[in-house]
Each structure stands twice: as structure tokens, then as C-alpha cells.
């Protein structure tokens, strides 16, 4: 508190301009999301009565569109409810494997001193700097050859890579942990697996949770990967994207589409509200902390 007072900075013209830019940015955000929420609450009858006006304020509002969107939004025999379930499986599954693999590699490279660690961590750095564009056709071919295309296990296998920034975060986090706990557990007769699962992983559970939630949000919002590798089981984002493209001419679908948009935004927004302190705290205090 004292430090806050001591470091308090006075407003000057440059800061005032910055404040103006941020107010403008916030206004655009509110207007965009506000417009979406407003239209999603407008009843279909009112929308038609107002001459299919996109800009008019609704006279009648209700939650009917949200319920109706589950029966109206459909793609490849899957209704919006089914798409939501697919989204949960896709986001949770991919987030789990994409955090687990870097976590395992981060752990062994931090705790077991082997020359091979240099190769593993070197591969992570290499993959970050060397970008091979246009490898998607090759990936599709490999997935087809292995009969993994359009399958959940195939998608999870594809995403279970440790070649990411997450691996370096885990490595740094495990390096920062004291070895005393592990040594005490080993003296008590714990196996290597016990030490890893029952001693070290619980010590960094916040880091694991934050990285899992971040990955979950990323996969929840991703619609291009399911579009290519899981086209028979559309997720909510992918299904709604295709539904939106295919029904552009039907004006009366607007309210359902927008209701669908709001429904897709809702889970990640709720997660953000619940985990705001973790997500923002870790971000502003310098990296993800355990």
C-alpha cells in the first residue's frame, strides 16, 4: 500500500492520449459484444416486425433464441448440442495431452541429469525458430495413411507434442523446485513415479492448471483444426462457422446465429471470470508461477 502511494504517477498529456485510445478500444469491444448480445435476445417476431433491421433496438427480448438455436443450428446431422459436446471433448482432450507431454519432458529434463536432455530441449528451441510452412498437406496424408483421419485418438495423438513453449515453462518451473522433498520421499522408499506424481506434480499444480485452462480456451476457440482433421464430428466453433457461411441469405436465421455466437463465447468468458486472478496475476507478475 505504501509502495503504491510512493510510486503513484501523475497524469500528463501523453498518458491522457493513451487513456483516450484505451477508452476507444474498450468502447469498440463493448459495442461489438453488446450488439451481439442485444440481437441474440431479440425475438424472431420482433426482428421480422422491425423489417429485419440489424441496427434497431429490440422491443421484445427473451431467451427463446438460445433454446431454439440448439434445434436450428445443424451441420452434418449434428445439432448444436452435439457440437457443444464435441467441443468439450476436443478442447479438454487436446488441452490434456498438449500439457501432459511438455510437463513430462519438462520434468525429466529438469530432474534427471542425462546428456540427452540437451537434444530434447534443443529440439524445442529448434522447432520454435525453424518454421516449416506448408506441412499441412503432408500431415493430412500421414493421418490418412495411419487411418487416423476423422478420429478422436488421431487428433489427440497429433496434438500430443512436447515441442512447444510450454515445455520450457515446465522445465524452468521444475528446475526452481527444491530437491529436498524428492530426496525425502526417495529415502522413505518412494519410486521415481511416486516422486513425480505425488511430490513434484502437486507442487506445481497451479502452473499445470493455468496452462491447461489456457490450452482449453485455445482449443475451444479453434475451428480450423477440426474443420480439416475432424470434419465428421463438428465442434461448436466449426459447426457454427459453416452454418453461418451457408445461411447468409436467410435473414431470419440471424438471431439464432448470433445466439450461437454468444453461447460459444459464454464458457470461455465464465472460465475467465473464475480464473481471472490466476490468468492475469501470472501474466503480469512475470511468467506462470507454481
Amino acid at each position: 500500500m505504501k509502495r503504491d502511494k510512493a510510486t503513484k504517477t501523475k497524469m500528463n498529456p501523453v498518458f491522457a492520449v493513451t487513456l483516450g485510445i484505451m477508452i476507444l478500444y474498450t468502447t469498440i469491444m463493448f459495442l461489438l459484444i453488446g450488439w451481439g448480445v442485444m440481437k441474440s435476445l431479440q425475438t424472431v417476431e420482433d426482428f421480422v416486425f422491425q423489417g429485419l433491421s440489424y441496427s434497431a433496438f429490440p422491443n421484445e427480448v427473451g431467451l427463446d433464441n438460445y433454446i431454439s438455436s440448439f434445434s436450428h443450428i445443424k451441420y452434418k446431422d449434428t445439432y448444436f448440442g452435439g457440437m457443444f459436446l464435441n467441443s468439450i471433448v476436443y478442447a479438454a482432450g487436446c488441452a490434456a495431452v498438449s500439457v501432459l507431454m511438455p510437463c513430462l519432458i519438462g520434468y525429466v529434463t529438469a530432474k534427471i541429469d542425462v546428456w540427452f536432455n540437451k537434444i530434447l530441449l534443443g529440439a524445442v528451441y529448434f522447432s520454435m525458430f525453424f518454421t516449416c510452412y506448408g506441412s499441412m498437406p503432408s500431415m493430412i496424408q500421414v493421418m490418412n495413411d495411419l487411418n487416423l483421419m476423422n478420429t478422436w485418438p488421431g487428433l489427440f495423438m497429433m496434438k500430443a507434442s512436447f515441442l512447444s513453449n510450454t515445455c520450457l515453462i515446465f522445465n524452468a518451473t521444475f528446475c526452481g523446485l527444491s530437491r529436498e522433498y524428492s530426496e525425502a520421499a526417495t529415502i522413505d522408499g518412494a519410486s521415481h513415479l511416486d516422486v513425480m506424481l505425488k511430490v513434484n506434480f502437486p507442487l506445481i499444480k497451479t502452473t499445470i492448471l493455468v496452462l491447461f485452462v489456457t490450452a482449453f480456451i485455445t482449443f475451444w476457440n479453434d475451428y480450423q483444426t477440426p474443420m480439416i482433421y475432424l470434419s465428421d464430428s463438428p465442434t461448436a466453433s466449426y459447426g457454427l462457422f459453416v452454418f453461418n457461411q451457408s445461411t447468409n441469405s436467410y435473414e431470419d436465421f440471424l438471431v439464432y446465429k448470433v445466439a450461437g455466437f454468444v453461447l460459444i463465447l459464454a464458457p470461455t468468458f465464465l472460465i475467465f471470470l473464475l480464473m481471472k486472478d490466476y490468468l492475469l496475476g501470472n501474466l503480469t507478475e512475470g511468467g506462470v508461477k507454481g
Partner: protein
């Protein structure tokens, strides 16, 4: 008496025997102890290390197999694919040498779609760099805890949580329909669709505007870097009468320079993957393209494996451009690294 003497003799004999056995015991003990130490050292430490290595191998095996198939093999296959052609009649790939690369290069240098896609990609990166001063100064406002800092921090982070696809579709609805409708209603003015109605660079800049507005979540990484600057440095500067702007240019900016450099360097890797949300806005039908959009839509709309070799060749050529470029830029920016540890 005789019995007593016999007992005494026995005791003397026993004592002698004990002495001899203790002498030999004394001799053997160090030998046994050293052997025990040697063996103990060999079995327990060696065993522990062996079990540690077995554990290591078991943990590392599956991730390595995954990388071998889905990274190494996929990329090698992509490289080989760039030199082949798919024969639809036989459903097999045939070797065509440098033909694909030649075709792609011809398209780039003779004003084809790929040339404009490459120019657009570089233009988008340039526009992103133009935003850099603002992207660094906004976090400074939050770092200095000026009015509304906490609220703006949440607002800046929000786009990274919400679906870009959904925000993009809301954005195109507002720009193409709502704004022209309001312009007509309020000002009796006929406006074209502000996004779809644009062509050429106008469309790219309209699409980029969305990415710029909703890409501000990245700026919070600078707040993170600024948060690590020791308070003592800032307080010393204040005692010397440094103004907030001087503090920004003379203390904050030099100390967060490594973070900015990482942003610039990694940004190069993203030049040829950035789709600027063109696919979200226009599906696969946009005439104005970036390299990222071209590669994605060409793969998506390919009939079977037909277009794959050309996509692989395009990717190979742009990888050959981006990788050295990134290394050069990295080397250049490293010269300005203050190497300050804090």
C-alpha cells in the same frame, strides 16, 4: 586343586584363542569393510542410476515417437512432396524434380496470386511493426497504475479468451450491415459494405484493423516484463527528478528491450502463416490473399492430393526465405541487447 588349575589353564588357553581370533578378525575387518563399501557403492548407486535411466527412457519414449511421426516424418515428407506430383489416374506420386518449385517461383515473380499474397503478408507485418510504439506504451500506462489500469488490463486480455472467429463474424456483420444501415438512417448516406466492399489493399487493411484491435492481448507480455524491473531503480530515478516519460525512455524501454526483440524475431516466423482472419471473413473465396491464407485454402479446397505438392513447394520456398531472415534479424537485434539482468 587340580581341577582349579585345569580351569585356570583352560581360561589361559581360551584367552590365547580369543586373542588369536581377534587378531585375525582385526586383520580381516578392514578388508571386508572395504569390500562391502566397494560392493555397496556399486550395487546401490549403480542400481539407483539404472532405475532412474529406465524411468527416464519410459517417460521420454512416447513423446519421442510422437515427434518422430508428427514432426520429423511429416516435415520430411512435406520436403519430398515438393519435388513430386500426384497422379490421379494411378493414385501415386511421381518424381518431377524442380518443376513445382519453378512453377511457384514463376507465379511469385510474374505477378501471380502468390506475388500479391507475399506482398500482403509483408505489408501486414510492417503494419504490425508500426503499432509497436503503441503496444509498448499501453502496458506502461497499466504498469504505472494510472486511472482505470486494472480495468483496462482485463479488457486488453479479453480478446485472447474470446473466440476470434465469433468476434470476427460479429465484426463483419457490424461493418458490412449495421454501420451502413445506421449511416443511411441517421445521415441519409449510402455507404458500401466496409469490409466485403473493399478490394486490394483496402480489404487487407480493413481485415488487419480487426486483428490490430483484437490482438492487443499480446501487449500484456510487456506489462509482465515491466513488472520485473526492480522498484529500487525506479525510486532512485525519481529521487533524481526523472519524469514518467524520461523513466519510460531511459529505464523501462531499455530494460524491456529483450522482450521487444523476441516479439520482432518471432513475428518473422508468423509473416507467412498469418491469415489476418481472411478465412473467417470470406471463407475460401477471398481474391485478396496472404501466404498463410493461400496455403490454408489451397489445401482445404484441393481435390484429393492434387494440389498438395504445389502447397508443399510454396511452403518450402517461403521457409527458405523466413528462416535465414529470422536468423539475420535475431543477430541484428542481439547487438542492441543491453544484457541487463533483473
Amino acid at each position: 586343586m587340580g581341577r582349579h588349575r585345569q580351569e585356570k589353564d583352560t581360561t589361559a588357553f581360551e584367552r590365547l584363542k580369543n586373542k588369536i581370533s581377534w587378531f585375525f578378525y582385526g586383520l580381516t575387518q578392514p578388508v571386508f569393510a572395504s569390500l562391502r563399501r566397494k560392493n555397496k557403492g556399486k550395487t546401490s548407486i549403480g542400481g539407483a542410476r539404472r532405475s532412474e535411466l529406465i524411468f527416464y527412457s519410459l517417460i521420454v519414449a512416447i513423446p519421442l515417437i510422437q515427434v518422430a511421426i508428427f514432426y520429423i516424418y511429416v516435415n520430411l515428407n512435406s520436403f519430398v512432396m515438393a519435388f513430386r506430383k500426384y497422379d490421379a489416374d494411378t493414385s501415386e506420386y511421381i518424381w518431377v524434380g524442380f518443376t513445382n518449385l519453378k512453377d511457384v517461383l514463376t507465379e511469385i515473380f510474374t505477378g501471380g496470386v502468390l506475388q500479391s499474397a507475399a506482398i500482403n503478408s509483408v505489408l501486414v507485418y510492417g503494419l504490425n511493426l508500426c503499432l509497436l510504439p503503441l503496444q509498448v506504451f499501453l502496458p506502461y500506462y497499466i504498469y504505472k497504475k494510472l486511472p482505470g489500469a486494472e480495468f483496462f488490463k482485463v479488457m486488453l486480455f479479453l480478446p485472447s479468451v474470446l473466440s476470434t472467429m465469433v468476434l470476427g463474424l460479429l465484426y463483419i456483420s457490424v461493418m458490412d450491415i449495421v454501420v451502413p444501415e445506421l449511416a443511411f438512417k441517421w445521415f441519409d448516406k449510402d455507404l458500401p459494405a466496409l469490409l466485403s466492399g473493399q478490394a486490394g489493399y483496402g480489404r487487407i487493411i480493413s481485415a488487419w484493423t480487426f486483428s490490430a484491435i483484437f490482438g492487443f492481448a499480446n501487449v500484456l507480455m510487456y506489462t509482465s516484463a515491466m513488472g520485473r524491473i526492480p522498484q529500487s531503480i525506479v525510486e532512485y530515478a525519481k529521487l533524481d527528478g526523472v519524469s514518467p516519460l524520461q523513466e519510460f525512455f531511459k529505464i523501462t524501454l531499455p530494460l524491456i528491450l529483450p522482450t521487444i526483440m523476441v516479439y520482432i524475431t518471432t513475428g518473422i516466423a508468423g509473416i507467412f502463416t498469418d491469415q489476418v482472419n481472411l478465412f473467417t471473413f470470406f471463407n475460401s473465396g477471398s481474391t485478396v490473399q496472404t501466404v498463410g491464407y493461400y496455403i490454408f485454402t489451397k489445401t482445404l479446397t484441393s481435390t484429393g492430393y492434387q494440389a498438395y505438392p504445389i502447397v508443399a513447394a510454396t511452403g518450402l520456398i517461403f521457409s527458405c526465405v523466413a528462416t535465414p531472415l529470422m536468423l539475420i534479424v535475431r543477430k541484428l537485434v542481439m547487438r542492441y541487447d543491453p544484457e541487463a539482468e533483473f
